[in-house]
């Protein structure tokens, strides 16, 4: 039952697996694990990446702590909005990250579809970025709602920006569902990349039609949350700026971690097959001996 059995030769007498199948399995093992020097090199490279990811994570954490401290304790309450203004230190930056997420996912999908730059790395990047994007879209909607209730008196309003964000949320939930359709990696990647482009084209059409839909009734009474900027200066402006930098770092860290998880899941799939084959082989040998 041990996983570290000595490899058996193809077609060894007494084995239950027919020879032809064994050679195929051996080929699968060869492609899955790769030669030993190659793995060592990859490990060394990875450790360099790990340091960069950990550093980004540490910086992001420090930034979050500093943003919380500045936002909740150092900065004064706003003359008009009072303590509500503190929500504006995170809401615009979360929304900003959301745009980065979908922008990166779109570019990565485009690069995957372009024959010269086709690589599964771009597919993983698109997947990681859009997953983080959906989380940040949810956060944008929630923080916006919490801010909207005391400010506008309602949790929700059919403002073009809000409506488009809500549609973006469900659009990309659908995209993530497409990513989970099983299949060959290349097939899945191509399907997902096309779905990402199809969804992305819809975003401006949504935005402008909702904008127009609203403007036929009344001019949006809702100010863009970012226009709060005109009232702020000094420590408030610095806190807002810091939060933009911080959340961008949080984004980079999350995407790097998610990307890593895609790579590991892929390797688990490859090596899991080899391990299962070896285990099965050991069982059949034990049964015979």
């Amino acid at each position: 039952m041990s996983l570290t059995t000595t490899p058996t030769g193809p077609g060894r007498p007494g084995s239950e697996v027919p020879p032809a199948q064994l050679t195929a399995l051996d080929a699968a093992r060869g492609s899955g694990v790769g030669s030993v020097p190659g793995r060592e090199g990859a490990r060394r490279r990875r450790s360099g990446h790990d340091v960069a990811i950990t550093a980004t994570g540490a910086l992001a954490l420090a930034g979050v702590v500093a943003t919380v401290w500045l936002g909740l304790w150092v900065t004064p309450p706003d003359r008009f909005m009072g303590n509500l203004v503190r929500l504006l230190y995170i809401h615009p930056s979360i929304a900003w990250v959301m745009y980065i997420c979908y922008g990166v996912a779109f570019l990565a999908s485009l690069l995957y579809l372009w024959p010269r730059t086709r690589s599964l790395r771009f597919d993983k990047l698109a997947g990681a970025s859009s997953e983080v994007g959906v989380v940040f879209t949810g956060l944008t909607l929630v923080t916006g709602s919490i801010w909207g209730r005391p400010t506008w008196g309602v949790w929700w309003t059919w403002d073009p920006l809000l409506t488009t964000t809500a549609l973006l949320f469900v659009l990309y939930l659908g995209y993530l569902a497409v990513r989970r359709i099983p299949g060959e990696p290349e097939v899945c990647a191509r399907r997902s990349a096309i779905a990402a482009l199809v969804a992305f084209v819809d975003v401006p059409i949504c935005y402008f039609s909702v904008l127009w839909w609203r403007s036929l009734h009344q001019a949006p009474t809702v100010a863009d949350p970012i226009t709060g900027k005109t009232y702020i200066h000094g420590s408030m402006a610095w806190t807002l700026l810091l939060s933009f930098v911080t959340f961008t770092l949080v984004y980079a860290w999350l995407v790097a971690r998610r990307y890593r998880l895609f790579v590991l899941a892929e390797r688990e799939g490859d090596e899991g097959l080899v391990l299962a084959i070896e285990e099965r082989r050991a069982e059949s040998l034990q049964g015979r001996s």
Partner: protein, 225 residues
């Protein structure tokens, strides 16, 4: 490409003429939806009632729901007896297959929209005015709907959860169509078609964008399905 499109559309329409799934199930379903809206928002009818005011929106929601069923049916017939392999090996132009399948669904939906418009006029007590704008917006909206539906129909046909996946993908995508078509109908029924022509442009832009996208993307998607 156009010859291939005609062949595929003819095949799909012939299957529909023989099986009558659209006539026997999709059209009754849409009528059920119209009745359900009546139950939810009634029983007051006549001018100024909620049903009468909301008639354009309810009409288009019913059309959207029916579109999902029609698209699902359009890809269900390819799933049987290895028909999709036959389609891939037929050597037909993928763009032609896309246009053909979309055109077949489009034809069925336009017929359904005529029936549904009658039902809405009758049950929600709304006089169908502004005929030209109504027809034009129906045409543009339906082309947009079936283009998106056919793209996502083939995307989701590779999935085992295609029945639940297609609506999730389809409805958010066609939100602009629902908006624009409702507004165009609103303007036409209110007797002010001038306000609706802009919305007709939105529908046309959407239809052209996704028709073009489908003709390009359908080939690779069909191969993978």
């Amino acid at each position: 490409m156009w010859r291939d499109a005609l062949l595929v559309a003819g095949k799909d329409l012939r299957i529909e003429a023989r099986s009558k799934v659209g006539l026997g199930q999709v059209v009754p379903f849409a009528l059920v939806v119209v009745l359900l809206f009546g139950l939810a928002l009634g029983p007051a009818a006549g001018r100024g009632s909620v049903l009468s005011l909301a008639a354009p929106g309810l009409y288009w929601v019913a059309v959207l729901l029916a579109t999902v069923l029609a698209v699902q049916r359009s890809f269900a017939i390819e799933a049987l007896d290895g028909a999709s392999d036959g389609l891939k090996l037929s050597g037909l132009d993928p763009a032609g297959i896309f246009v053909g399948k979309a055109a077949a669904v489009c034809g069925q939906l336009l017929a359904l929209e005529v029936v549904l418009a009658g039902a809405v006029a009758l049950l929600y007590d709304r006089h169908l005015a502004g005929g030209l704008l109504l027809v034009a917006s129906c045409l543009a909206a339906t082309v947009g709907l079936v283009s998106v539906g056919t793209i996502y129909g083939v995307v989701s046909s590779g999935s085992r959860q295609r029945e639940t996946l297609l609506p999730l993908l389809f409805f958010p995508m066609v939100a602009p169509i629902l908006l624009a078509a409702t507004k165009a109908w609103d303007a036409a029924l209110a007797g002010t078609p001038g306000r609706g022509t802009g919305w007709l442009d939105v529908l046309a832009v959407f239809a052209v964008a996704y028709l073009a996208m489908g003709t390009v993307a359908f080939g690779p998607l069909l191969e993978d399905a």
